[in-house]
């Protein structure tokens, strides 16, 4: 079953064309990642899908409805963690979760959520005094108070330390195990690789390539990546004959030679000629 259907979506701000005719579907129970650098149009896409922004043109259906005219019932089936970590600054995590629980008429146990997210000790701290990682965890908590079908996470781990990032990955994996559909945006290649069923690489408002992670790599035609250090310069070579390349590099006196399989970062570079970050 298709939870999200997007066809030829365009979004034009006053000066910028942020999204230029993208189309994709998201199947129920999958993790769909939109991977792309800053300014690719990820947030714009998410905000159109959740109904806080109007599209310029194109067809969009989310849970069978047009996001610009969501019913209250459909809104209750959605959960969103925005990229901006805006929240009531002067409320505590406990109170904030209570607010969401009431708003969504959820029946979860707030104490359990706080413990699960490792926020129990901060339950009485005002949100404005939380660290970046705790704040994100609290925002993730707001989507656990009810039982959403479809979850949007817009760069949920950006600017977090590796430990906090792992924590959030764990929550996402738990949600996935419960059969939730998750729409994730990220500019971390590892994140998309680790979590996604389907990855959709986006650049400058367009979809570059899309599919299962292995599929995407396969489709790119990349075989092997050889990296090395030559005269103190990082070099990176795409090749189908790694042995030959390695031998040549050794001859030239290269160091730290590494031969590996291509990853999503390589795919991105392959299509766009630029790095993800």
């Amino acid at each position: 079953m298709k939870v999200i259907q997007v066809s030829n979506l365009w979004k034009k701000y006053k000066e910028v064309e942020a999204v230029k005719g993208i189309s994709f579907d998201v199947e129920k129970g999958t993790v769909f990642s939109l991977l792309g650098p800053n300014g690719a149009g990820k947030t714009t896409t998410v905000e159109i899908l959740i109904g806080v922004r109007k599209r310029t043109s194109g067809e969009v259906k989310v849970l069978g409805e047009d996001p610009e005219r969501f019913s209250k019932e459909t809104k209750k089936k959605l959960a969103v963690v925005f990229q901006e970590t805006a929240i009531f600054e002067n409320l505590t995590p406990y109170e904030i979760l209570k607010f969401f629980k009431k708003t969504y008429e959820g029946d979860s146990n707030i104490e359990e959520i706080l413990k699960y997210l490792d926020l129990w000790n901060q339950r009485k701290t005002l949100a404005k005094h939380l660290s970046g990682g705790q704040r994100r965890k609290l925002l993730i908590g707001t989507i656990l108070v009810h039982d959403p079908e479809l979850i949007f996470l817009d760069e949920p781990t950006t600017s977090l330390d590796p430990a906090s990032r792992r924590n959030i990955w764990r929550v996402i994996q738990d949600l996935k195990a419960k059969g939730k559909t998750i729409f994730l945006t990220t500019h971390y290649m590892e994140e998309a690789q680790e979590l996604s069923d389907v990855v959709c690489i986006m650049n400058e408002g367009k979809i570059v390539t899309m599919g299962r992670v292995e599929e995407v790599i396969e489709k790119s035609g990349l075989k092997t990546i050889v990296t090395a250090k030559l005269n103190d310069e990082e070099i990176r070579i795409e090749t189908t004959e790694p042995d030959k390349v390695t031998a040549e590099l050794l001859k030239k006196g290269a160091e730290e030679i590494d031969i590996r399989k291509p990853n999503l970062e390589d795919v991105f570079l392959h299509y766009t000629g630029r790095k993800l970050k």
Partner: protein, 311 residues
């Protein structure tokens, strides 16, 4: 639900300062510095005083010109006129009594005369009868304090909170919430209204200590209409003003406050704040109130429509 909003709002220490400490402090200081000033009043002007003065004054006061100096003095004494002005051997003489309205009228005229520099003539002030209680400055400035609360908490607060929510992106969150009983804007309204009531409570406490006999009926009406007029007005503007909210709020707040007639006798007709001051002084003008309510809601609706369309 409203309690979440109110808690979030009132736990902000700087907000508490602006809501409670600032209006009371300002009210107290202002009242102490300017211990006397005026409201609407009726002066009488001697007929010998050049026409131009009369013309200027009649725009602002309910003034009449009379031939006889003795009649002027008599009218001021028995209260038909609040004060009188006579041109006497090259200087203006202002007659007044210590009746509240009379002494306020005197102050007003005096300041007018000095402001307009009428022919460089000296102004001499003569009290012709001393009886009755003088209006204390605390009583006089009480409406100013109330107005400051209504404008500060309701109007300024409305603009500022709305714009700030938008700036940090909280408005997006509100859009996706499956709302239950109350729409978000109504919650915003109520939380500002409650904050306003808290603020007024602090002000009334200070005033009562300073001996002001608060008229609770007038106060209730002005708080109610003040909220209905100014909060939607503020929220409407907040939706449009975005980053410039503070500037926009100041640009509207201070002129409205100072042209309200609460501090000086100058009341600007086309000013919703004047309506509130009048209510506080016991003059309910329902047509005026209705007009401002309509205008305020029109601004609110226009702001919301703009916001819904804007990218």
């Amino acid at each position: 639900m409203i309690t979440f909003f109110l808690d979030n709002y009132l736990r902000n220490k700087s907000m508490l300062f602006w809501i409670i400490v600032f209006p009371s402090l300002f009210y107290f200081t202002f009242s102490t510095i300017f211990y006397k000033l005026g409201e609407d009043f009726k002066p009488e002007l001697e007929a010998d005083i050049p026409k131009i003065f009369f013309n200027v004054l009649k725009d602002h006061f309910d003034i009449v010109q009379i031939r006889d100096e003795n009649k002027i003095i008599q009218d001021v004494k028995n209260g038909t006129a609040d004060c009188g002005i006579v041109l006497k051997s090259g200087e203006f003489v202002v007659y007044y009594t210590s009746r509240t309205t009379s002494s306020i009228a005197k102050d007003m005229l005096e300041s007018f005369f000095s402001a307009f520099g009428f022919g460089g003539k000296e102004i001499k002030v003569e009290i012709i009868e001393a009886k009755g209680k003088r209006l204390s400055s605390y009583e006089y400035y009480f409406p100013a304090g109330v107005l400051m609360v209504i404008l500060g908490v309701g109007f300024f607060g409305g603009i500022y909170t709305e714009a700030w929510f938008k700036e940090i992106g909280l408005d997006k969150l509100f859009k996706i919430l499956p709302q239950r009983k109350l729409p978000i804007d109504l919650m915003m309204f109520l939380s500002h209204f409650f904050a306003m009531l808290i603020s007024l409570f602090a002000l009334v406490t200070v005033s009562t200590i300073m001996g002001v006999n608060v008229n609770y009926k007038n106060l209730t009406f002005s708080a109610l209409f003040g909220a209905i007029i100014f909060i939607p007005f503020g929220i409407g503007i907040g939706k449009v003003s975005g980053k410039h909210s503070e500037l926009v709020a100041n640009l509207l707040y201070f002129p409205m406050l100072f042209l309200s007639g609460a501090f000086f006798g100058v009341s600007f007709k086309y000013n919703p704040a004047t309506t509130i001051v009048k209510i506080l002084r016991g003059k309910m003008e329902f047509s005026q109130i209705a007009l401002w309510v309509v205008i305020s809601f029109a601004i609110y609706i226009a702001g919301s429509a703009w916001y819904a369309k804007a990218e």
